[in-house]
Amino acid sequence: MDEIDKLLDEAGARWRASQPPPAPIDAASLRRDGGSRAGRLLVSFAAAAAGAAIVVAAVGIGGQLGIWARVDEPNLGTAPSEAGATSQAATGDIGCSVTRPDPAFVAPSPYPAAAPPLYESEWFGSEALWTMLHRDGEMWGAGAIALGVKTFWWSVDWGGMRDEPVPALTVVGTRLDGPGAFTAGPATNAARDDFGEAMLVGVEIPSPGCWQITASYGDAILSYVVSVTDD
């Protein structure tokens, strides 16, 4: 055994010794068709093909899939509110009042005052915390369940990706038309030429239905309702 072989053996043994034991197998999960315990974030339908498509996945899957929706009013403040416009979404047997960004939030400089046109969306929220919602409300398809969706968030209190690369942003989901909840995260950061830097959280929806997505950053809480179908 030469010195390199020995070094690698020792390094490998040290690394193996530092690894946690594997999680026990959840045999019941094998029966479910869904697969992953959580994993599968991102790259929704249009997937890795283009950054723009990925962003669209976060903000306008409904439009991509030709699903319609309508809305209510912005939800913002120190607790999830009922702000924003709502409209009944076509979700099979279930009606879902998804949130429309009406009125749209006008972001302060240096952020673009309105959401970039590419996304067919508007800013929604306040200076303390805002996101981007499709003008007709968010309608997410099967990709949100199988692959997840990127959600983007902004705040004047966020120092940017250099100062706070892992934003203290939490995103949770509560199903409104049945049992179900999730906690997403951790948050990371993103940057694009058109909207600048943003806080990013990958969200995996456990099941189709009417979901309230709620983000918290500092004292600010912002929520909206999205309809998720398995189409």
Partner: protein
């Protein structure tokens, strides 16, 4: 019951299947951690298990051990997870704190500078602790190719680490 006890095709119930793969879980978990370091290893393993469960009828013992089959599936899932991580990078840049420097990091750092196939062989054989045959299954090549790739990797690491073998 280890996976290699099976005579062909996977067990028919989830409980039997879980018992069948359990002896290989540690290797699968380490392989996931090594090949997709920024992903959740448990997610990768779980996805691999679900995929193996769905494809259990395709397992053919004459083409290799069940352990090698499971590890190959895990490696594939890890590659998918890595691609998903890259998709994050398409729109974002994670700021990663710098690492402290010591001798252990030197070896690790040198391994990261190996060509892709050489790093994969080193990861599987030395770090995950796979046999040559299992490494070959993950790499999709012969045992001989694994051995020669490991030999090439050691030569390159010698240069990178400037080790005096005497």
């Amino acid at each position: 019951m280890g996976v290699d006890d099976a005579s062909g095709g996977g067990p028919g119930t989830p409980t039997d299947f879980a018992a069948w793969v359990e002896p290989e879980l540690a290797k699968m978990s380490r392989l996931a951690a090594r090949l997709a370091p920024n992903a959740d290893r448990e997610d990768v393993v779980q996805e691999a298990l679900v995929r193996a469960w769905r494809k259990r009828d395709q397992y053919d013992q004459s083409r290799g051990t069940a352990a090698a089959w499971l590890l190959a599936i895990t490696a594939d899932q890890a590659r998918r997870a890595r691609r998903r991580q890259r998709s994050f990078a398409l729109v974002g840049e994670m700021i990663v704190p710098g690492r402290s420097s010591d001798d252990r990091v030197d070896v690790e750092a040198a391994v990261t500078r190996l060509p892709k196939r050489q790093k994969l062989a080193v990861d599987c054989f030395y770090y995950v602790g796979l046999s040559v045959a299992e490494t070959a299954a993950v790499m999709g090549c012969s045992d001989g190719t694994v051995k020669s790739t490991l030999s090439d990797a050691r030569k390159r690491l010698r240069l990178l680490l400037e080790v005096d073998d005497g």
